[in-house]
Amino acid sequence: MKLLEKEPDLYDSEFQKIFPESVEIYESLLNTIGKKGKVLEIGSGTGKLAIQLNKLGLEVIAVDSSKDMIEFASKQVQSNDADVKFFKGDFTSHFIYQQLETEGPFDFIISTFVLSELTPFKQLLFLKQIYNLLSPKGQFFIAAEIILKNRTSKLFYKLKQSLFNQINIFREGYTTYPVLDFNEKLENWFYSNLLLERRNIQLYTGTKKDIEDRISSLPTLESQLGRFRWIKVLYCILNGILTRKSIKPGLYIVGNPNERSPLLVTSNYYWTVSAVSNALKNSQIDCYVLITDTNGINVWCAAGGGYFTHQSIIDALRLFDVDKYLTHKDIIIPQLAATGVDRKEITKFNWEPKFGPININEIQKYLVKGQKFPSQSKIGFNIVTRTIMGAQHTIFLSIAYFLPILLLSGILGVLGLDQSFFWFNIIFQGSIIGVILSQVFAWIYPIFNYTRSFFIKGLIFGMISSTGIILILINLQTPFNISTIFFWFLLILLISLLVSLDFAGHTPYSNHLEVEADLVLFLFPAILIIASLIVILLLFPPVELLF
């Protein structure tokens, strides 16, 4: 839909091609809706429905996030001699909500094909805001693309999403989120009934439930982590970069908190949540933990990448009614989130944000003292962290670089290409060296940390490792010929450069601009080395295997 929004005049006809059901949905909606009252349309698009609603005699207020669409719709409204009031912005944002609150309450709220454009977390916020904006007897109409309730559809959707996530690491794409368990989501706030169902499109209508303003009991953080925790954590450690194992965002309890207990905020990456849960349990702290939607990414990366922001915290505070559970307004935010979370923005909503210790294990000392020591604000990179990061990086390298090349050369070998056995062996031995070097570099990292440039770190590491490996092997085995020595020296140098440069993001010492410069620097020796490897192979054979 996002792509269509660039060309408003084609939008309706193109949209109908994708969803031919939309005609039926609009018809059924217009037949069911009342003839009097105030209506809010979320995602008004070209304004077609808004104009028709206005012609029925309803007072129409419309929201859309696209500027182009609103401009187009305003023209349509004028030429049709209708009267529609437009708001530009994201319906789930607090800013638009406040504006709409002064316009409301509404007798009808309509939204077609918007819900499935939002992430599952935002879908809940969307429905909750509709609940708040409806008048007591008000009626909603929501049409959305859903995931059908059979196993194959769910499985197919999961496969599609995981594939998308894999591609998304390298190439930012755009995806929709068909609604899972639409009816159950609506049941949280509404009495709903299905008005129309075609293919995977559903149109629901309904009215507000009388939700008492009482505090419901909250689930424990422990229950969200489920069974076989250590296996899941191990999975995160080993495959952390390639997949995002996440926890459902929400407000959870640890121990037996009361209304004066502290409130902690964290990201929804499984490993992060597990670490927080362990630390809190070990120090026997009773508290609330608010898990925000950070797309299954850890605190620092999510904050740096724009997923863990003040906006995501404010959204979570609003959706889960956090203020109902507390008499105070203090929120403890992880210090590393300071890259993305603007403290001033949260203060505007009457909360008092504080940045907690950098390491969750220091949380008890912090809560007792009520303030931080400078040492609790400083990031460490000790041997345990380095081992884990090294392992994570090594597995990433193997899956992303080594295995595909190995597989390719294997396939070429099966096809019976000349010398493919020799090539397969070279790549195999290179990969093994790469895996070992990657882990070793992580362990001895502090030696190289006197310089900031990861290119220089890699170059020094490469010189040492390639000389070292060749000297050891010369001593162990029969002497190699000179071209073999040169070939492997250069190849190991190249692998070390790649391995150490790629490790930058796993350390707390990498600087965006410098990594950028290092990557450009890396290209020159890389091309030079690859060229010389080819020259050695062609002009000075034979090149022997290393082991």
Binding site: E172, I297, C301, G304, G306, Q335, E516
Partner: protein, 89 residues
Amino acid sequence: MTATIFQEKCIGCEWCVEVCPHQIIIISEEIKKAEIINTKLCIECGACALQCPVEAIRSHPIGCGCVSGVVRKKINIFLRRENPKTCCN
């Protein structure tokens, strides 16, 4: 490249001191203003600049540097995408 502190704007509130993950910002004794003591360790994560209430710190706006993030940024520029998300993961 490192973050830059414009001391004439600084009000000495110490927020940047608290959030710096490498603890390289201090409030100088004489003038009670923030300064970076070890620029070599600055990774330009942007935390100090974001928290500063008077916009006295300038830092590269993109978070911490990881290779896939940088590569992705390059690809996005190459493909001329609008508003590319930049993230390590």
